[in-house]
Structures are given as structure tokens and as C-alpha cells.
């Protein structure tokens, strides 16, 4: 499905997109040494939708994440949330980072309640809401533990709970499961799907993991290798509600194969690039 058709479908359904990426362009540096990370990307995310952006390493995905999250200010084009151009981190966006981001000096429940602390919510309500989301991510009983006592997967769940507790309208995640093993990833994927369905949470997931993207998403935006452009947008018409069992279905396999065909071309270009950089040896 092309970009044009996708937009037409959105228009036809009459719903307004919650998040609009409009012609975003980002270049690092100037002149001969400059690198174009994102080359005029455009796509939408509708309310309640789960969209993944997938691309090979080095394609500019993290740059896109930082721009949408408002952490990167200098770019051309627009990022619109509820038709408002963003300026800095938008309060409707909750970000989950790739790296370990729990506060090591706070226990689980104090970590999760942190955004509510900032909003001035009173203590008992803070703890109530924090408990709710700790349960939601399956960490009931671990509230008083310090992050150092938890596994990597559990800590990532704490980060997710912490982001969800402030009920962001848009959940923005950058390869949150990258550091986890496959089984943990599949099970956490289940959790995320379940949460997203329960809360009807609009989600934008940046990932390099193909099976993860197909498992979790309603639509997948395939990025080219640097400079990053939208290569294709694929509708994932797998049934909802979904579980990790879906990975064994035929339809799943078809989607993966279809997207891999696109992705492989870009990944190959990426590999060739890094190989020649290594062979080239000395600094440019």
C-alpha cells in the first residue's frame, strides 16, 4: 500500500490523525561532511493505532524518535500533535527509551509514581495509580524493590509503567526491547499488545526487529537506509485481539516475508556502507 492510498483511507474514514509527520527533513552538519539522516518523511498515526517504524541500523530511526519526542529541535518540516506543531517535548507524548532508564536510587513504585509527583498529584492517589500500572505490566509484589534487584526485562517494564502512569495520548517507544532476549521480548510484546488494546493507546514503536513489528502493529512504516525515507507503508491485517501465538500463523509469515524483501535491500546497503567505512580505515 502506498503512502497516497493510506492517506486516502484515513480521509475516507473521517477520523483525524493524532500524530502527523509532515515532510520532516534533518541534516547533521554542513557542506561536504554533512549527513542527511531523514529525507522528507511523511506519515500519520490515527488514534488508538499501533504503528511501527522499521528500518536497518543507521537509517535514522533514533533521530526520528528524538524529533517526534521533542528532544531534537532543529529540523525542517512539521510534527503535528492534534494539529498543533510541537515545540519541545509535548505533554501528550510519553517516551520509552532504548537504554536502561529507571532511576537507580528510587524503588519501583517511586519510579513509576515520578511523573505524578511532578504533576503535584497527592500521595495516596499517586500510589494508587502507580500500583495500577505496576499490576498492568505484571510486576505486582515488586513495588518496594530497588531496580538493581530486578532483571533487565523487569526494569524495562518499570520504565514502561512509569511512562503509562501519566496517561499519555501517544506512546512513543525507541527499540525498548532491544537489550532483551527473544523469549522475554515475545512475552513483553504480549503485555504491550494487551495494554494497548485495553487502553486503546496510540502507539508509535521504532524498531529494527521485523517479527516484533508484525506481531504488535496495525501498520508498519518501512524506512530506507540513510538518508531515511518512507519506502512503504504496510497494513497489517492480522486479527485483534492478538497474542504471541500469531507468530506461528501463515499470514504472519507472509507479512514478514513481504517486508523483509524491502528491508533486506536497505539492510544490505547499510552493511556495504559500514564495511567500506572499515576498509577505508583512516578518518575521512
Amino acid at each position: 500500500m502506498t503512502l497516497a492510498t493510506s492517506a486516502a483511507v484515513d480521509a475516507a474514514s473521517g477520523k483525524q490523525p493524532q500524530l502527523v509527520i509532515d515532510n520532516v527533513f534533518k541534516q547533521f552538519g554542513e557542506g561536504p561532511g554533512s549527513v542527511v539522516a531523514i529525507d522528507h518523511m511523511s506519515f500519520n498515526v490515527m488514534p488508538g493505532e499501533f504503528v511501527s517504524v522499521i528500518g536497518p541500523s543507521g537509517c535514522g530511526k533514533s533521530t526520528l524518535f528524538n524529533i517526534i519526542g521533542g528532544l531534537l529541535d532543529e529540523y525542517s518540516g512539521d510534527v503535528l500533535i492534534e494539529r498543533e506543531r510541537i515545540a519541545g517535548p509535548h505533554k501528550a507524548v510519553g517516551m520509552v527509551f532504548q537504554e536502561e532508564s529507571t532511576f537507580p536510587w528510587r524503588n519501583v513504585i517511586d519510579n513509576v509514581a515520578f511523573p505524578l509527583e511532578l504533576l503535584g498529584v497527592n500521595k495516596s492517589e499517586r500510589l494508587d495509580r502507580a500500583h495500577h500500572f505496576i499490576d498492568l505490566v505484571g510486576l505486582k509484589g515488586f513495588e518496594k524493590l530497588m531496580p538493581s534487584a530486578l532483571s533487565g526485562g523487569m526494569r524495562q517494564r518499570v520504565s514502561i509503567a512509569r511512562t503509562l502512569v501519566s496517561k499519555p495520548q501517544i506512546l512513543l517507544m525507541d527499540e525498548p526491547f532491544a537489550a532483551l532476549d527473544e523469549q522475554t521480548r515475545l512475552l513483553l510484546g504480549d503485555k504491550i499488545t494487551q495494554i494497548q488494546q485495553d487502553l486503546n493507546q496510540t502507539t508509535l514503536l521504532i524498531t529494527h526487529n521485523l517479527t516484533e513489528a508484525v506481531q504488535l502493529s496495525d501498520r508498519i512504516v518501512v524506512m530506507t537506509y540513510r538518508p531515511g525515507k518512507v519506502k512503504r507503508i504496510v497494513d497489517i491485517k492480522l486479527p485483534r485481539p492478538r497474542t504471541s501465538d500469531v507468530v506461528s500463523s501463515d499470514a504472519f509469515g507472509h507479512y514478514v516475508a513481504e517486508i523483509w524483501a524491502d528491508l533486506r535491500e536497505e539492510a544490505t546497503r547499510g552493511m556495504a556502507d559500514s564495511e567500506s567505512a572499515q576498509r577505508g580505515g583512516s578518518r575521512g
Binding site: L71, P89, M95, F97, E100, S101, F103, P115, L118, M146
Partner: protein, 256 residues
Amino acid sequence: MASPSLAQHRAIPIILGASTVIGVFVVLEVLLRIGVVNKYVVPLPSQVLLALERIIVEENIFGRMRETAYEMVVSCVMVIILGVPIGSLLYRWRSLRQAVLDWVAAMAAAPLVLAFPLFLVMFGRSPTTVIVMSVITGLAPIIIKTTEGLLGVRPVLINVGRSLKLTDWQMFHMILLPAALPTIFSGIRLSWTFVLISVVGIEFLINLGGLGQLINDLSERYDLPGTYGAIGFVILVSVAFFMILERVETWLRPAK
């Protein structure tokens, strides 16, 4: 391997060390009694132990400890009140940091305590001199470690703060400072160690205050067992202080 024997294994060196120390004192006692070592230069260890009791009773040891403790507490608090903010400023302003940090490092290595006669002139023979001198000696490590700790905060934690739109002050006291605390405390440990050495040392040099002065007094009275006893006592106190600081630093470390 059964655990009792493993524990035995680890205890043996400790026992060896302790018994060597005791053994040395016993040998010394013997050598002194038979006249091989001059009794007017080295007192009998047994007499030193007796002197300790005498000192505690007669020399108002607790009053003296209070004096020294007062100077210590004021210096230790001042050194944090001054050092952490200065270190934070250097973290904040890169140009200032690049200009000044080398100077601070030089200060950390310099024999600053030699300047005590200057402060004697300014403040007279008073606890203020001891405190000012000790604060100057202990300032540099805290400044350096505060800056280092703040610079070492993982970028993702800062990004979490930015994504939650924290104000500068919120970012500083809710994320930066707690994240940097283990490093800052190792600076505090180093600094407070210097402060202790400086406080007792200056007390000794200018003959004022608490424990340092005690040693001075006793040595001027040619009270040999007393002098040795007092020196031993002060050394034990400072070793205990250092051990406590170490314990606290290790306790802070696991917050990784």
C-alpha cells in the same frame, strides 16, 4: 568445600596480623624491662595502656573530643556547602570549567596547609584558624568529584527528565544530584579524611583545641606513656572515622 573451613581460611591472615602487632608489643615490653631499649625514649607498653586510663580520667578527654569534633563538624559541613555548589557551577558552565578545573586539580595537590601561619595572623590562635585551614584543604576533592559525578550522569536519565519537561532546578535535584551521589560521596570521603588530618594536625601545630593539643601538652610535660597513649588514641579515632566513611561509600555504590 564446607563453609566453616573456608571461613577459617579467611580468618587466618587476620589473626596473623593481629598477633604480630601484639607480639611486637610483648617483645618491646620484654626488651625494655631487661634494659636493651632505653626506657627514657620508649615507654613500657603496659605503662602506655595505664596512661590511657589516666588520660581519659584526668585530661578531660571527652571535653577535648568535643572541641575537635566541633571543629570537624563545622569544617565538614562548610566543605560540602561550598564544594557541591561550586562543583555544580563548573558542571553547568563549560567555558568556566575548562578554564578553572586545572587550577582546582593543582589545589588538590598543593601543600595548602603550609599557609596556616597566614590564618594565624588573620584569626589568631582560635578554632576559626583550624576550621578555615581545614576547609581550604578539603575543598578541592569535593569540587572535582561533584563536577565529575554530574558530567557522568547517563544521558538517558537526562533525556527522561527532558521528556517530562522538568525545570532546570527539578532536573538538578531530582535526577542529576541523586544520579551523581555515589561519585560525590567518594569526593566527600576523601575530603573529610583530609579535614580530619588537617584539624588534628593544626591543633597540634598551634597548640590549640582538643585532641591535637592534648598530644602537645603531654609531650611538653615529658609524660612519655601519656604522649604515646594519646597518639595511639588519636590514631585509633581517625582510623575508626575513615572506616565508617568507607562503609557508607560502599553502601551508596550499589545504587547503580
